[in-house]
């Protein structure tokens, strides 16, 4: 098992002829997953090192059996690419670009709601099930297969954390980056639901931060629905209010969006909350090995 990506993942890369897309396409032939197609409007019929390119995801899907789109187009084309992938009814769409205008995000979310595709991002580093499949731009070297499921708003913080876990022999079932934007199209609650049902995942880790109310909603959901052991790393406790801390979504703008409020809500839901990746490694090690 694992969630979202696995042995059956067949990747279609939107923007495969761009600098990042071309580089990342190669890295996603990882585990049992394969990159089967690229989509670049106007370049249908060409190929990149043997990977066929199509004008639309719909054609790519019917010709190659691709089921997952990873989007590496510049931010101003993200909406168009996501709508194209939704049109093809792919099971998973990962939108990587950072800085996508929020009105575009509202539009993609609106269209996604009317179909059955899962849409992750924008500003997502992607999803990886170590040893099996990767749909995104993370470097696979720091991951190892295991039983910890991780959901993170921050790419870099998840890399740092995963690297520490792997060095200590704490493997991961799936690591999903939901992105640091104001509106994540795939949120903590949806990811929690999938991990709860996944047989391979024994423990779930939530990596959150200041801003927005995603972690508060997650805490409510955990209290009601999640039975697996839960751990959370919440960062930004020392951030001044009213300042955007890098991520579009990371701004303390009300009582519910502070690190303290999130930590309290998660603790009340029975979650073990820590404030840095080293502590997280230690509590996970003792939970798994004791």
């Amino acid at each position: 098992m694992s969630i979202l990506v696995d042995e059956n993942t067949r990747v279609i890369v939107h923007g495969i002829t761009g600098r990042v897309g071309a580089f990342q396409a190669k890295t996603m032939n990882y585990g049992k997953a394969r990159v089967v197609a690229g989509v670049v409007p106007g370049k249908g019929g060409q190929n990149l090192d043997g990977i066929p390119i199509f004008d639309t995801a719909k054609e790519a899907r019917s010709e190659t059996g691709g089921n997952t789109s990873v989007i590496f187009v510049p931010k101003q084309f993200a909406l168009q690419a996501v709508l194209d992938a939704l049109e093809a009814e792919l099971s998973l769409i990962v939108c990587v670009p950072e800085g996508v205008p929020v009105h575009d995000v509202l539009k993609m979310k609106d269209r996604q709601r009317r179909g059955r595709s899962i849409l992750i991002g924008p500003n997502s580093p992607g999803v990886i099930s170590p040893g099996k499949a990767k749909a995104g731009g993370m470097s696979d070297k720091i991951y190892m297969p295991g039983s910890i499921g991780i959901i993170s708003r921050s790419g870099t913080l998840s890399y740092e954390t995963v690297n520490l876990l792997t060095q200590s022999g704490l493997g991961q079932s799936t690591v999903v980056g939901i992105g640091g934007d104001m509106i994540p199209c795939f949120d903590f609650v949806e990811a929690l639901e999938l991990f709860e049902k996944d047989k391979e995942t024994k423990l779930i880790v939530v990596i959150g931060e200041i801003g927005g109310t995603g972690e508060i909603e997650a805490a409510k959901h955990i209290k009601k629905r999640i039975r697996k052991p839960l751990f959370a790393l919440i960062v930004g406790a020392s951030a001044p209010p009213g300042k955007k801390m890098g991520h579009a979504g990371a701004i303390v703008s009300g009582e519910k969006t502070t690190a303290a409020a999130k930590i309290e809500a998660l603790r009340n839901a029975g979650v073990r909350v820590v404030e840095n990746p080293f502590e997280l490694r230690d509590v996970l090690a003792s939970a798994l090995w004791s």
């Binding site: 950072e98 720091i142 921050s154 913080l157 740092e160 640091g180 509106i183 801390m245 840095n276």
Partner: protein
């Protein structure tokens, strides 16, 4: 991008949303001339970005010439108060029958734009929705900006206003909605929305926040005079393509990635140190610069221009990027600039095995992980 009231009102006028007659002025004599043209009484409103201007005494009423001069003088050149007001809006004081709230913003939870009407104006709408939810009316709106007549009518039916005012409110909503979508706002707010003695609606205040991520294509807004922050270093960093937020400590941080940068600030604080700043590269901006040399120079220059700092933590976890390229950029900077304070360097991830070789002749303290880096730099900051 948070607009000043006078800028937001210019947009309101362009979209046919009525505002009181007014003029932007920079000194007391201009204020006097403006008030003579407009006619007494006038409102004199300090143009600052923060909310709560009424409570802070930054909005005044003047009934005669001497009061105009007195208030303008006091707002622009205050005694015993920090001076940050450079512009005033002088406006006709509208005789009012009532005040309401009208705004469009983004409901994060629903992931939809939302229209909000409140029967009381000039209030903190979040507070009111907690304390008096019955006075607030909300409607999710179409994210594609389409107006649906039936939906609007159904919304208006719930609102306790007479038919004439409702029709006027509808037209205000439609115009505000067009502005909200055209300019890609995250907030377009009229608070208070006045109902004049003559029965006309008028936007007494105007607050517009445009999505920063959309500025690249909101070219009309590129010419307006604007600073995102009151802190010059923060504005300079933003022009150079990264986030820098000034904190009040003595440890300079050069870090990458929002989450990792935030946890670094937290960890330094928890270890008893005081960070001087938060720093995060902005996503794909680096692609334009192509090399690390320019980015590292920009970041180091900004961090070092804060003269309070005693030491620097330079820390990157390279997931997509490469440590060896970053180390080369840092070496170049160190050879071309006299830094003069100790630098702790932590470069982990892709390419980290080459870092020691690249930086071995430089005057830096190399450590392997973030924990060690934090305790090292906090120790250095305490040495005086």
């Amino acid at each position: 991008m948070n607009l000043y009231e006078f800028q937001a009102k210019e947009l309101f006028e362009a979209y046919g949303i009525d505002v009181p007659q007014g003029k932007l002025v920079y000194n007391p004599s201009e204020a006097l001339n403006a008030s003579k043209k407009i006619g007494m009484p006038v409102m004199i409103k300090a143009q600052v970005l923060e909310g709560g201007r009424g409570k802070a005494g930054l909005i005044r009423v003047a009934e005669d010439d001497s009061k105009v001069l007195e208030h303008a003088e006091d707002l622009l050149f205050p005694i015993g108060r920090s001076k940050n007001v450079k512009k005033l809006l002088v406006e006709k004081k509208v005789a009012l029958r009532n005040e309401y709230y009208l705004g469009i913003t983004i409901d994060e939870l629903a992931a939809l734009p939302v229209l909000i009407f409140g029967t009381t104006g000039g209030v903190d709408i979040e507070q009111v929705s907690q304390e008096n939810p019955d006075t607030i009316f909300k409607m999710s709106i179409d994210p594609w900006g389409r107006l649906f007549e039936e939906q609007t009518e159904a919304f208006l039916r719930e609102i306790p206003l007479n038919t004439d005012t409702k029709q006027k409110l509808k037209s205000f909503y439609e115009r505000l909605s067009r502005l909200f979508f055209d300019k890609e706002c995250t907030l377009a707010e009229i608070n208070p929305l006045g109902l004049s003695e003559e029965g006309e609606l008028v936007a007494l205040d105007a607050k517009i926040i445009v999505d920063d991520n959309a500025l690249f294509r909101q070219t009309d807004l590129h010419n307006i005079e604007y600073e995102s922050s009151d802190i010059p270093l923060e504005n300079e960093a933003s022009r150079r393509g990264f986030f820098y937020i000034k904190l009040d400590g003595d440890i300079g941080l050069v870090t990458h990635g929002a989450g990792l940068s935030m946890v670094t600030v937290d960890m330094v604080k928890n270890a008893g140190g005081n960070p001087a700043n938060f720093l995060d590269k902005k996503g794909h901006e680096r692609e334009k610069n192509k090399t690390w040399d320019i980015q590292i120079k920009n970041e180091m220059d900004i961090v070092l221009s804060d003269k309070r700092i005693k030491t620097i933590l330079f820390s990157v976890f390279a997931g997509l990027v490469r440590c060896d390229e970053i180390a080369m950029g840092l070496r170049k900077y160190l050879r071309e600039n006299r830094v003069g304070i100790p630098i702790v360097v932590r470069l982990s991830g892709t390419g980290s095995e080459k870092v020691h070789e690249i930086l071995k002749d430089e005057n830096v303290i190399l450590v392997d992980n973030l924990n060690e880096a934090v305790s090292e730099v906090v120790g250095l900051s305490k040495k005086g």
